[in-house]
Symmetry: C2
Amino acid sequence: MAELSIDRFVDRYARRTSGMSASEVRALFAVASRPEVVSLAGGMPYVQALPAAEIDAVVRDVLREAGPTALQYGGGQGQLSLRETLVRLMGEEGVPGDPDDVVVTTGAQQALDLLGKIFIDPGDVVAVEAPAYVGALSAFGAYEARFLAIATDADGMIVDDLEQALVQGERPTFVYTVANFSNPGGVTMSLRRREQLIGLCREAGIPIIEDNPYGLLRFEGDPLPCLKAMDPDNVIYLGTVSKTFSPGVRVGWVLAEQSVVQRVVLAKEAADLCGSNLAMLITERWFAGEDRWRGTLDRLVRTYRSRRDVMLAALGEHLPADAHWTEPAGGFYVWVTLPDWMDAKALLAAAVERRVAYVPGVAFYADGRGTNQLRLAFCYPDEDRIVEGVARLGALFTDEEQLYRNLGGR
Amino acid sequence: MAELSIDRFVDRYARRTSGMSASEVRALFAVASRPEVVSLAGGMPYVQALPAAEIDAVVRDVLREAGPTALQYGGGQGQLSLRETLVRLMGEEGVPGDPDDVVVTTGAQQALDLLGKIFIDPGDVVAVEAPAYVGALSAFGAYEARFLAIATDADGMIVDDLEQALVQGERPTFVYTVANFSNPGGVTMSLRRREQLIGLCREAGIPIIEDNPYGLLRFEGDPLPCLKAMDPDNVIYLGTVSKTFSPGVRVGWVLAEQSVVQRVVLAKEAADLCGSNLAMLITERWFAGEDRWRGTLDRLVRTYRSRRDVMLAALGEHLPADAHWTEPAGGFYVWVTLPDWMDAKALLAAAVERRVAYVPGVAFYADGRGTNQLRLAFCYPDEDRIVEGVARLGALFTDEEQLYRNLGGR
């Protein structure tokens, strides 16, 4: 899949496909899936933490009690009983909502696609963090959005920069943010920044899309209020069970006001008619067992916290002194910045050669920035593998620095 | 959901949403879901025919043998082993294919959406049958396609009319057809028409999208070759397990050449990352048991054939003499044409009042035609309910005719 072949339909594709490209990184990831390679690339949840016997029991209960429903078409909005469950789940983070205002989607990714479909005309501006979730860039990019990339620091999006852009005349269709434990940045928007963003967007009449996959994966400290809780009218909220339960059921959702909900449902029906009743019923039942889901979530948080600790310690030990990285208080990712002259994308092949993989930073910018940056995921490999992987990376980067110095670069 | 409310984001929606409207028929269908109403509207497969114990065994096997995979993210193209299964399934209808050329989608509906996304620029022309599958009109319409509606008769699309349109300068981006037991027409494209369509499109360089959900649900007669088998290069083929197995797993697929496949995969990843591994593994395993899936399919075909027979007999008995309808040799639907002056959409409220529901014909045309037509589905209600429903419809239409004559209309 490294390159699109020229073909008989070449003159027929829509203009938007020119923005869809198979990255050269794909080919490397195929290699990186070999077992001897430590992948710090993919954000795969540690589903091995899910209790197999309980999953089995949940699925059998669903089939016994609702077999014909599970195997049938459903409505475009998703089952009401599941939407009630998702509202309870949002309540865990203080987000108020009504099941009528929820649309179940195929993971939160489909919510990004459907919101892109109903909001973005070609050339419309979408404000995103820099770096931003690559899947959001793909989803919105498919509708030919132009991106306004707002820089981030340890406190998340630098809202002053957004304000500056608005002063200079930018008029984004919406602002997209992963405020908690961002992907890829691993940073969390501070309370002050949240208040500032809410106030600015409300004043400017710009809706905010808050994507919150990691909120319940907090390792320490007190949770900050979700943007949706701070301004229910102007924020469209996205959730998913991919990180608290399983990505294999593909259950995410949108919480928004009715006019948005109705358009998202129509777009959903045009996109795939409806989600899988079977997967929705399994999800609903999973979260019906309080001890079950809370116990699993606790186990996941403990596992990820410990892996985060191990990764941060290994980075301190193995990475060159002039590299730096974020220290996430939750979620899946650490964002590493190498010396300016290093090219993380160019180095990926050498890294895979040394049996370790990561995602080069340029993937997370719409404008080619991030050459000296990379994303590391600590969610999936066990602690020994994390240490081994970071040590291999450290050796690679140290060797590169040596080479650079030898060549007179410093 | 009857009407979209005006809202604070009203100036922000994309232009394409102006074509997405919640039909007034929705509100009626909410009423029609009451148990006392015989619904001849929805195309819900008779999933009660699926053997519960075998489903249970299949699901448990999947969880036992591949639990962590089932609960994890997968690739955008869908599992190779499932794609191999789908290739075998296509072989049942003589369609040749390679697993590398298959992309698994969320039902065939998502395939329509993704193909729309990669092929349709706003204003592009798409040639469809008249009447056409309403979900295709929604999917392509969301990308602002303009429809070229080609009339149909008992032999399917009248290809002469398409040729005429090409002569007059129309240049469709593709032709979309449900050649076998069409939805909603219930007609099958004859061999002569297939040859004519293949030749015309090949000569004009226009790809054909062949959507074949019902092909294996043939009640009598010999199967005709699929368009994909007749011209593998120029036909993009869509399949689904929704009718042979279960719509609840949401498994459909595209079979196309590599350049299309690669673009569909990129569009799929932007749309929802990947399908449900759990649902894909269940589907694969279901079709691994030859006796199981063939036995179920046989049972479904017998059930649908018998229901079709009952519906056709009831129509002959109860409908007014000046109504006529198609006689499907497979699939789910009968297409009814009433006298010109009747308005099936206007009559739907009265029908629901009389405890029977159908889909008004106008839903299946992009241009407001079909006021005196309607679609009846014989797939879901049992035979007694079908007879009762058709009798109620017959009484309604007969009363309408009486009223019309009394008012001097004839």
